[in-house]
Amino acid sequence: MKKAFEIIDHASDVGIIAYGTDAEELFSNAALALFSLITEPESVEEKLHLDLEVSSEDRDSLLVEWLNELIYLFDVKHILFNRFDIENLTHNELKATCYGEGFDPMKHKIKIGVKAATYHMLKLGKDGGGYKAQIILDI
């Protein structure tokens, strides 16, 4: 099985490369990569779910907006997610159900604070039979 994502180094920050057999899986794996940077994903249980709708100008910026929405939910509502059902994905709109639980300092280790997904060195495209994306995160 092909890996879902990898973490890459960037001068003062960190980047992710996500893979997917289709665009839906790509978006889901990018979100998993994000939360694997923030915490240990195994420590997160599915205790709540949230329906999200994100829209943007194009597919590339939709990926940035999607991750920024998740960063916002962690920063303000302190929710950690570990599963994403991408229900509808067009070139500029996304609907998803996200599963996870509220941050519990006794249970979850926070590894780094991710503050924003950026457009810097952003790449999204076909890769062999599937999709691949690179996003740099500001931490």
């Binding site: 973490i7 003062s12 907006e65 950026t118």
Partner: protein, 485 residues
Amino acid sequence: MARWQGQLVKIDDYRWEIPQNYKTGMRVPGLIYASKEMLESMCEEQTPEQVANVAFLPGIVGYSFAMPDIHWGYGFPIGGVAAMDIKDGVVSPGGVGYDINCGVRLLRTSLSEAEVRPRINELINELFLNVPSGLGSEGKIKVSQKEMNQLMVEGARWAVKRGLGSEEDLDVTEEGGCLGGADPGKISDKAAKRGMPQAGTLGSGNHFLEIQVVKEIFDPHIASIMGITEIGQILVLIHTGSRGFGHQVCTDHLRVMEGAVSKYGIKLPDRQLACAPIASSEGQDYLGAMACAANYAWVNRQCIAHWVRESFSKVFGKSPEKLGMKQVYDVAHNIAKIEEHTIDGHKLKVCVHRKGATRAFPAGHKDTPRRYKEVGQPVLVPGDMGRCSFVAVGTQKAMSESFGSTCHGAGRVLSRGAARRSMKGGDVVRELEHKGITIKAGNISSLAEEASQAYKDITEVIDVVHQAGISRKVAMAIPMGVIKG
């Protein structure tokens, strides 16, 4: 990353030009302040390419500048300065950065190393308790939506009005701690929601609170005006910015700028340089929102300075006044400002983007605070937690050459990942303890990212700006106690 292969023309030992014809589309040349050795590592990192890319932006005047602490950033390099004519130029959120008005504030004390060293653990623990820090840290001050709207407009004064500091602090804060033109109407609900719980917090990452000991005074006259008079004197340096609030403001407006780039037909070599004409509604909206975030950051440092004074007062059993805890200065290092500069003998209003760069106004300038009118505006340049920090002042040379700007810090040489792989957080703590530096951090494992080895040597950085004449060094201090979020 492949080594940068472009052409660099040596102007003198500390100035290197990227000619305007390096890339078609550059509107001005690039100018890098660096020693020959530093230039080598910059080329390894490809940073000169980013300096050249910034030169594409409409309305840029003079040069696209790079300070010696430059490193690879998003679109704009960190350590970059670019001034755009307000008539036909652009403003770019990337030229300010995500952490709007990330900056530093320096307090002096009348305490000596001999008085503080025996109690350093107690003091660090007290500060750790009193100053909210760490990931997702929430403030001791509870800010309602109405208060958030006020603090975005009033800046540091909002905190002073609540008894957190004094009028005198405002006199020695860049812009008096309040950037004009703040428009809370341009702040999204999301940004406000991220900002409200985090007001008055230090945060995490490279932000810190440091107790320092003065080790060297290069200019005793200027130092004495700052209240720095003795070797062994204790200083406190606070480094923080606008937290999640600034990040959300940048994120929100970058998205707007994405649309503006095609609307105004702006050609860019990198999407992260997204911008809009200063005079456009998109440009004005960003400047109004950016000022809100800048003011939020000044509130942050104002609150933290107050709790630092309280903590010292508790440990030493004397009032902050008796301990001589006066503010030396507070300077922004991620900001865009409308300023008047003289270019080719003509006065011109420009929007100066300083991203990882510090304002360095000279003696006599109208915006240099009264206390420093005769010597120039203080420039605070923190190094990494294992080496040292410098205090300098702005110069006429900076005013005439670099839009009154200089360096802001050490600048990274190792990525966070590379730093983590080369050492462990625990080893960093032991290494610092060996040097006589006590550290307390919310997250020990991420400390390796901030180790000395991950940064350039600040002494080399300051020597370049001193020798180039864009600031003059005044004093050097080393850390004794550090709090990291």
